[in-house]
Assembly symmetry: C2
Homo-oligomer: 623 residues x 2
């Protein structure tokens, strides 16, 4: 990996930072955040502005360029990568280390008195703007919005913003029509006494209209905003995709509809002026609901007195609770996904000993098997296919420079998933194709105990996911071990593989309580730098639990695994499991055998079926 | 309980709300919060202003009086009590219920345009002021500080502010001299580049100077503030207690000292003017450190640019980590406390069947036995002595109206503790003096399993207590049961029985990580309204744990019980315990027998010793 040479680019950027064509007054610093205008986790190539200006293309990082300096803030996952990808024009600011200044402190220390700091108001979230603006102002500087994105002005071969065709989802997939979703949203708006709702997150727009896209890799979303009033629906979207007859039919664009369900289609770029027009028409006490994570530009378009901000929108919360059709779809998707993985693991068992399978080949093979399944759309994230020491790199993605050959001597960790039209999957299995050491088995078994502790947990209605995180760690903690990531995240239904507002993590974040119908991952792990990585991940559905008693009539919840892929028993030290845990493993494998076995049979995949049967033999105590 | 008649009092209050003698401009509403000027949990009689004006004397509540209305906000623990204690002049605002307005919303709904709302700036914490002031301002009203407390002006027989003699603690109790504590504090101040530190919490003043008092019942503190500079120490305290030769000697008031250790004693009431003088002398970048929970009056005395606010002060954090002398003192205190409880429970076993022991008699007897122990000072909180249905009232305190007779047919719950000069105790035991039902035993055993799960937990250095809370609930959750309070709180060393900054709770609060030397309670419970209450509470010390491995060299922690009082085995359903849990109970009882047995022997308390031996017989499996 050689660093990107950025001398000329930085020179150009510093010129436009002073050019009256783009800025009212010269800015002495320009901030280039990671995100897009929708605060997406995954972004399109045209939004990779920070990577363009610096060369550093990790998923998290903020660049700041001043007349003299160029600095990049990123976290521990990316210190090495950023150092490799950036040339000497750049100073790496290692976040999380004690001596690393914050962006604000650094700016204050390098800027001449009374400086202006520019940023694209569509990219910076309102809460970040507020914090930074306050810090700069108290030091005598100003944070100013620069309307035209300055990176775009110097990015000659900037890719076009994607504008791919849309997929319409009918009721059999979504369970609820977009009209009924609008009705439910308006009733939430009425409850809170707000007149308008602004949809800014891409997955929320997609969910609301029962549409999917492919503008962003791995995430079936499309670039759009929506503004919902009590009697109006405005959808801001570009391209000729609204000309597609299926889409027109789906949205009933050409039907005679009650006016409150008539969708006005407007250009993507007109959201700001339309929102300003909406705000201008408000009288006192009329409020506009917008996420507190929305961009500064959109938030600012609504005068403060009219803003109704919440951390989670009603769409985010409704989207998290899957209805019966979505749940059934997720079940189907996970059955197909398990079929593909049985095929893969059966293939690996045969091929790995030959020494010809690399991490990249294994990942490609996984994709090949998945793509054979009905309604397969694409992967749900970049496959983590890692063996030996690469397994200890938690966000590893094999590239030719690091690509390692699978062998019978090393642990193999595969974290992968796909988008099917009926659901999204995300599964991690850790395998050994030879004979694992006692220590590897010991660590694997602690991770398995943690996985089971969460999966089998019973907890009251109203419990937040973060209260379950320690269950996943207890067995590891007992032996002085741990893992440095959260235990679970929400999973979308043919939508983003990471979604809010629930999760299972030791980090205290404002998660919403778990409720029946929510879907999260359960993925404890253990990683030994330079040696191996272990992770066992299922996607699980929150379901009501039957309990002996029912305190305060609150009701209880538990999880049902949707992922049905064998957990390699060869890696288990059975003596470390309690009887209850052994029963859990046996019951789980029995279910894999029944459900996935039937599907393998149906698909005529007899070799994979034999593999499944062999891998789901009950654990037998050897004590 | 008949309500307090407040018609005349409210009339008087409404008069002074308009009197130019007390207010610059009439105030249309006056807020009477619960607290004192130090944001203490327990307050002195002279600070019970809200109880005086309303009759309601629960521990939490805020009164607001307008020209037309008088309203009281309190939480679910006190709905009944408040309703009984207040007359019809008052409207009860049930906090936590959906339709109950916040104080701000209510004020906005009842006040005439452009109103002034008054409050004593010494009683309201700065963060509450900020929130309320903002809400009122945005509705066109003003929150204004009223210097003279208006309740005091109409409280004819207001008790004097207590000013009791001080106790000096020598090195054998504190382990660190006050001089060394000042040195350590100044080094923390230097680290954060602050020049002054304001000590506002009573237990922090007491801890810093190795002094104790008895101005507030159950809390060995005294009314005082301190302001520590890099070269000056100012102690604000009233009365002739500074004339006490022991105190003068302890503080070296008459010695020739380096100037930076010379304590200037000033009147308690001069804190505000002195702080204002300090602030007036500051140049830019010179900061004053004060808790963000300090009163509005003191916070406001420091211009915003000079304030350095933190949720926990360095004293709060240092105080929480007990040194070897404090730990040894806590051990001694808990041994003495266990002796007293063995005497009590032995006595109860004999007396309860006679039908002559009431909750109050049992509580008094507990105090009597404790007071026989060396260095006993007072109780550490009002004894919760409750039998049968009273046990389900979590903050119960027996009074003649509710006083119930202990019997062989009901569960008895005793939550009690004491202040000894060497330490503070807090212990809960739940007993049956006849034959418990299978269901009572079942519930008790789940609570015990939770208690053990926390007590025996091993967790990495740096773990926050709230991550352990679910361990205490898991066995209850499995059967659909739970309890509606936190699992543990920090405990002071001959100081407040509740102290920050650590704790074990499902409520997400900004707790500091647990570290070796911290002391917390472990007290899960189960309560069945109208029937019984169960709680098992030990005070436990955080200690380093030996583990098989040591991930990232972080080290691990666990707990050591300081409380050594038998847990009634009659209440245990042994079949519900794992072998590990049985071993824990047996090991714990073995330790009780050894440590407390030796002390009972030494004190010649042979009957209690026989009781101890009998109660600490090992559990024998009956399966």
């Amino acid at each position: 990996m050689s660093p990107k040479i950025t001398t000329e680019l930085l020179k150009q950027l510093r010129q436009v930072m002073k050019s009256p064509k783009y800025v009212q007054e010269p800015v002495q610093a320009y901030i280039v955040p990671s995100g897009d205008a929708h605060q997406s986790e995954y972004i399109a190539p045209c939004d990779c502005r920070r990577a363009f200006i610096s060369g550093f293309d990790g998923s998290a990082g903020t660049a700041i360029v001043t007349e003299q300096h160029a600095a990049m803030w990123t976290d521990g996952r990316y210190f090495l990568q950023a150092a490799h990808q950036m040339d000497n024009n750049w100073t790496l600011m290692k976040m999380g280390l004690k001596d690393t200044p914050t962006q604000e402190d650094w700016l204050v220390s390098v800027l001449p008195e009374g400086s202006k700091v520019g940023v694209d108001p569509f990219i910076i979230p309102a809460d970040q703007w507020k914090r930074m603006s306050k810090a700069l102002r108290s030091a005598g500087h100003d944070l100013v919005p620069v309307k035209e994105n300055l990176i775009d002005t110097i990015w000659a071969d900037c890719p076009q913003r994607p504008c791919k065709p849309l997929i319409t989802l009918d009721l059999s997939y979504t369970g609820v029509s977009w009209r009924d979703k609008i009705v439910a949203l308006r009733s939430k708006m009425a409850e809170r006494k707000v007149l308008w709702f602004v949809v800014t997150a891409l997955d929320e727009v997609a969910w609301l209209f029962n549409l999917r896209g492919s503008d962003v890799e791995y995430n079936p979303v499309f670039f759009a905003y929506a503004v919902i009033g009590m009697n109006t629906i405005r959808l801001f979207i570009d391209g000729d995709r609204m000309m597609d007859p299926a889409v027109r039919e789906h949205l009933q664009l050409d039907s005679t509809l009650e006016p409150e369900f008539k969708i006005q289609v407007m250009p993507y770029g007109s959201i700001l002026s339309e929102l300003q027009a909406v705000a201008a028409g408000l009288s006192p006490k009329e409020k506009v609901w917008i996420s507190d994570k929305a961009s500064y530009a959109l938030t600012e378009a609504i005068p403060k007195a009219y803003r109704y901000l919440t951390p989670y929108t009603p769409i985010c919360i409704a989207k998290a609770v899957k209805n019966a059709s979505e749940t059934e779809g997720m079940r189907r998707a996970h059955i197909k996904d398990a079929v593909a993985l049985c095929e893969l693991f059966n293939w690996l068992e045969k091929e790995v000993p030959k020494g010809t399978v690399t991490e990249i080949i294994a990942a490609d093979k996984a994709e090949e098997f998945r793509s054979q399944q009905k309604d397969f759309v694409e992967l749900s994230f970049a496959t983590i296919s890692s063996t030996g020491p690469n397994g200890a790199i938690i966000h590893y993605k094999p590239v030719p420079e690091t690509n390692r050959t699978l062998s019978v001597n090393e642990i193999y960790l595969l974290d992968s998933g796909a988008q099917y039209k009926d659901g999204t999957t995300d599964v991690t299995r850790t395998m050994h194709f030879g004979t694992p050491s006692a220590y590897e088995k010991e660590c694997f078994t602690y991770v398995l105990k943690g996985h089971i502790a969460v999966s089998a947990a019973i907890f009251p209605n109203g419990t937040k996911g973060h209260l379950l995180d320690s269950f996943a760690r207890s067995a590891l903690w007992d032996c002085g071990l741990d893992y440095l990531h959260g235990t679970g995240h929400g999973v979308g239904s043919f939508l983003n593989v990471h979604e809010g507002p629930c999760g299972i993590s030791y980090k205290t974040f404002a998660d919403e309580p778990l409720e029946a119908g929510m879907i999260v991952s359960d993925e404890p792990g253990y990683y030994e730098d330079g040696s191996f990585g272990i992770r066992i991940e299922n996607v699980v559905l929150v379901i009501p639990a039957e309990t002996k008693y029912n305190f305060k009539n609150r009701g209880s919840l538990t999880f049902e695994p949707l992922t049905l892929v064998p957990i390699q028993t060869k890696m288990i030290d059975i003596n470390l499991l309690t009887q209850k845990e052994r029963n859990w493993v046996n019951d789980y494998h029995q279910k894999c055998r029944e459900v996935i076995g039937a599907e393998l049979e149906r698909q005529g995949r007899h070799e994979a079926l034999r593999w499944l049967i062999q891998e789901t033999e009950p654990l037998i105590s050897v004590q």
